[in-house]
């Protein structure tokens, strides 16, 4: 009975996901109803998650230690449902007719996958979660079939994703051979000194393979190579989703696997993560500077942000855990907001820096939201992104990795460059729409309208990206 209660959010999501598809088979062409079912399911799942958190005795291990419900689970469920609802809102206008059942059903099923990833306590359940997340995403990526390149992007995403999964599965096998367990209910890797040298080295090989699979999902360098192409040509709301939510899930799962003490016990693994973090930050930020396609730019910014997140695993400790949690929330909303603005600019075409020219005058709300999201991502005080990055940097310095934090600080300064590029496009030489003296070359100054639901979703993201720092202090301190 407790199992049913503790996993009620997942059950609701599963029923809704399957239900939407069945509903469409019985009463086709009622996209609006399906949309409301989806939103309702998300709200119900979030309510269930809160109920579980407030009911004593429901936190704990379930299914012979295969899954765990705890604070992290609740946190993740709420973030996922909020993000999912924002995605639904954002595609309110573009996904009203046709393909709705597939769209909403697959979205719900991939959300289920994310929940499984975070609750998993054995590597195989984790693997199932990752596949449950990924398979709907592969299909969703091509849901706007007529969009040039959408099918190609989906195929690329699918083939490379499958490859990464296989490598990861191989890693799981090696880890089982070495550690003789796939459960990480008490941390996968035993404390330092428990394993002899030979087993440790095999375990490290297994860890590397596992990391390849997870690094692929979080787009850490050098496993990011798929993301710029896929982000640039995939369906935008799906890209916004894939670029944000799975990262949160996988990062939280990685923390569950490695635990706070991995770095200290396994210097080789620690060094490996540190190298990946540094190369991600440096490479991501520098290459993002060179991009003209905004989605590609955001893809490389995502690589850089994966680097910042990975710092938490190098330093370890409870402070890193809290910092990572806060950073992930801010990242979710800021990144989602930025992608949704790109989506508002045009769903089916590539968006370059030029497209943002004069947006400040054409749609002030959209431009302001974009600016808030970008500068929050860049880490400008007093926006939430600053507090997220600051907490991460502080935890890293306190963990004895001042050099890593210094690299992160410097690359952050670099990152301001590309966020600034968009900001100056939006506000450079701004002319207000009421102004009557029409200048030549100002044909772009026509007001630019966006569907209300999408605007609402963007505003919610921007508000979170801006204000969580001022009011989310509780999250920061744990």
């Amino acid at each position: 009975m407790n199992e049913l209660l503790a996993f009620s959010p997942e059950i609701v999501i599963t029923l809704a996901g399957v239900g939407v598809i069945l509903f469409d088979a019985i009463w086709p062409g009622r996209g609006r109803v399906e949309r409301w079912i989806t939103l309702g399911a998300m709200a119900a799942a979030a309510a269930c998650a809160i109920f579980i958190a407030l009911t004593p005795g429901l936190y704990g291990l379930y299914f012979q230690g295969a899954m765990r419900v705890d604070v992290t689970t609740t946190f993740a469920r709420l973030v996922f449902m909020a993000a999912g609802a924002l995605i639904v809102l954002s595609s309110w206008a573009t996904q009203g007719e046709g393909d709705t059942a597939e769209y909403y059903g697959l979205l719900l099923l991939s959300l289920l996958g994310e929940s499984v990833i975070v609750t998993a306590q054995t590597l195989l359940v984790l693997f199932i979660g990752i596949e449950l997340l990924a398979l709907p995403c592969y299909a969703l990526m091509a849901i706007r079939k007529h969009k040039p390149g959408a099918v190609r992007a989906a195929l690329k995403y699918f083939l490379l994703g499958m490859f990464a999964s296989i490598v990861m599965l191989y890693g799981v096998a090696i880890l089982f051979g070495s550690l003789q367990t796939i459960s990480y209910a008490n941390g996968l890797f035993p404390a330092a000194g428990v394993l002899d040298a030979a087993r440790t080295s095999v375990a490290m090989v297994g860890f590397l393979f596992l990391f390849v699979g997870l690094g692929f999902k979080v787009t850490a360098f050098p496993f990011h190579f798929w993301s710029p192409d896929v982000y640039a040509s995939g369906s935008t709301p799906v890209v916004a989703y894939v670029a944000t939510v799975p990262k949160v899930a996988v990062m939280l799962a990685l923390w569950r696997i490695l635990g706070p003490g991995f770095g200290a016990a396994y210097p080789l693994g620690q060094m490996f993560i540190a190298v990946v973090a540094v190369t991600s930050m440096v490479y991501g930020n520098v290459v993002a500077l060179l991009q003209d396609d905004v989605r590609r730019m955001l893809a490389y910014a995502g690589v850089a942000n994966a680097g910042y997140m990975l710092m938490a695993f190098v330093a370890g400790g409870a402070a890193s855990h809290h910092a990572l949690g806060f950073f992930l929330v801010v990242y979710t909303f800021a990144n989602l907001g930025a992608f949704l603005v790109v989506m508002a600019m045009g769903v089916d075409r590539s968006i370059s820096m030029r497209d943002f020219s004069g947006l400040g005058a054409r749609n002030g709300v959209l431009a302001a939201a974009m600016a808030l999201c970008l500068f929050s991502l860049a880490g400008t005080p007093p926006l939430a992104g600053f507090f997220g990055k600051f907490a991460l940097f502080k935890a890293t310095v306190d963990g004895g990795f001042a050099w890593l934090a210094l690299i992160a600080l410097v690359t952050t300064v670099v990152s301001v460059g590309y966020y600034l590029k968009i900001a100056t496009q939006m506000y450079g030489g701004i002319v207000t729409p009421q102004e009557d003296d029409a200048e030549p070359g100002r044909e772009l100054a026509a007001p630019f309208r966006v569907a209300p639901a999408l605007t609402g979703a963007i505003l919610a993201c921007a508000a979170a990206a801006a204000l969580l720092g001022l009011f989310g202090v509780g999250l920061l301190t744990g």
Partner: protein, 494 residues
């Protein structure tokens, strides 16, 4: 008044007013303008009340207010005022009030302009009051945004280029400055409390290497703002394109943020790096004085000339700061204040001339004194004040800075004299042609009324009175600043 959070009130007045302006309908332009005047007058009143109650002769922070913000990382809302920041706060509230008066003449996009003006005021006051490094940075950045829009929306032909250049220069400067502030945190006492950081630095707890790194990072942010040669190139562009009020506040207040930061943070927290770097800083100051004056001499555009004169005058501030003895700091503080008054006045006047003649080209402007006698007289007065005529405020600041400079860097300072001669040259030349020369055939024409509007007089006359008062009787100002200057000089042993 004891215990009243007056400094917070000083910040809340423009904040509340900006919210009200946002809520008022844009069609009620007149009400919005007068409301802004009233709000800035109230802020001015509060700051004057603070000044009258200020214990002159004390070097320490007064009226401290501190509320924890993110205690886990040592972040707080902490404000205070001392003899160094008080004149700058007064300067800010005064210039904002006069700008609001001048804005009564504005027709286009009044609501947004008034909103930005009030937002700018919050940021400027906040920078001078903040005693928490993050808070300081937030206010510092807050200043950037309204000024960017002021140039970008109400600017001249080339506003896009100018506003973007302004934004990029100052943003990159301030991001690097943030890096410096974070280093102060991590290498320092693990709090953002600036007083604690300064105490840490003065106890010599930063290693020399740390000091150099932090000094370098902070310097970039401050140097762009001052601007110190060679980081000044954004300034003439921004000034030429900015609307009058934007120019007044840019030259009058924004430039002082850099000088203030150098004195408060760089000198206060990193004494050894400051001592080691000060000869170069003095050299950059003198280069700024001479270079700014020389370039001003060659300008064809009146506003650009005043902009380059700002580079030159801020050079005296940098020289005084680099000297870092009591006279130098006194002089730098005085020069910051008087430059705000005089250059603010000059930019108002240039705006008024432009409104009448629709040109800023020096070669086309002739005989202002016959066309509008009052404007000609006040413009002459402002030019004399700016070129450093003894008896007017500009002289006091420059002279005291030079005195300080001569004590520490006699050779470097000697070169500054060239700048003084050049300054006299360009201002006299300008006055001679623009104010007194008879109109020629190709000169711009103005046949309107020979009088100035009351809003124009109200904007510049108070500044003229202050320039004269400080010129003849600078003692009260020095009494206010000197204790802080002595304390700062003691830190670096000069």
């Amino acid at each position: 008044m004891k215990g009243t959070p007056v400094l917070t009130m000083l910040l809340l007045v423009p904040l509340a007013a900006s919210v009200v302006v946002l809520l008022l309908p844009a069609s009620q332009a007149k009400i919005i303008k007068w409301f802004t005047v009233a709000a800035t007058a109230l802020a001015l009143g509060v700051s004057v009340a603070i000044a009258t109650a200020f214990p002159v002769g004390s070097a320490g922070m007064q009226l401290l207010e501190s509320v924890p913000w993110v205690p886990a990382v040592g972040m707080a809302y902490k404000v205070g005022v001392d003899g160094l920041s008080l004149p700058l706060v007064l300067l800010t509230t005064l210039l904002c009030f006069l700008s609001a008066l001048y804005t009564l003449r504005l027709e286009k996009q009044v609501k947004v302009f008034c909103f930005l003006l009030l937002l700018l005021q919050i940021g400027m006051i906040g920078v001078f009051l903040a005693l928490d490094a993050v808070l300081f940075y937030v206010f510092w950045e807050l200043v950037l945004v309204p000024m960017f829009f002021m140039i970008g929306i109400w600017g001249g032909e080339n506003r896009r280029y100018a506003s973007v250049k302004f934004f990029i220069y100052t943003l990159i400067g301030s991001v690097v400055m943030l890096l410096g502030l974070l280093l102060l945190y991590f290498w320092g006492p693990r709090t953002f409390d600036m007083q604690a950081i300064i105490a840490w630095g003065q106890a010599g707890k930063f290693t020399l290497e740390q000091q150099y790194w932090i000094f370098g990072a902070l310097f970039l942010g401050f140097a762009v703002k001052v601007p110190i040669f060679p980081f000044h190139t954004w300034l003439p562009d921004a000034h030429v394109e900015a609307p009058t009020v934007g120019s007044v506040l840019l030259a009058g207040v924004l430039l002082k943020m850099g000088g203030y930061g150098l004195l408060r943070v760089s000198l206060g927290a990193l004494p050894q790096a400051f001592i080691d770097f000060s000869p170069y800083l003095a050299a950059l100051g003198v280069i700024g004085i001479v270079y700014g004056a020389a370039v001003a001499l060659t300008q064809k555009d009146l506003k650009k000339m005043v902009a380059y004169s700002s580079v030159s005058h801020m050079g005296f501030v940098v020289l005084g700061i680099a000297a870092a003895n009591a006279a130098g700091v006194d002089g730098a503080a005085m020069q910051m204040f008087t430059h705000g008054i005089i250059t603010g006045m000059l930019f108002f006047l240039v705006g008024m001339i432009y409104e009448r003649y629709h040109t800023k080209e020096i070669a086309k402007l002739r005989g202002v004194i016959t066309a509008v006698p009052a404007l000609g007289v006040i413009f002459t007065f402002a030019c004399f004040a700016s070129l450093g005529l003894p008896g007017l405020a500009g002289f006091v600041g420059e002279f005291t800075s030079l005195m300080g400079g001569l004590q520490t860097f006699p050779v470097t300072t000697a070169f500054a004299v060239i700048g003084i001669v050049l300054t006299a040259a360009y201002f006299l030349r300008t006055m001679q042609s623009v104010v007194f020369a008879p109109p020629e055939e190709d000169s711009a024409r103005y046949d309107g009324p020979k009088t100035m509007a009351w809003t124009e007089l109200a904007a510049v006359l108070p500044l003229a009175v202050i320039a004269l008062t400080i010129g003849v009787f600078p003692a009260p100002f020095f009494n206010l600043v000197d204790p802080v200057a002595q304390a700062l000089a003691k830190i670096v042993g000069r």
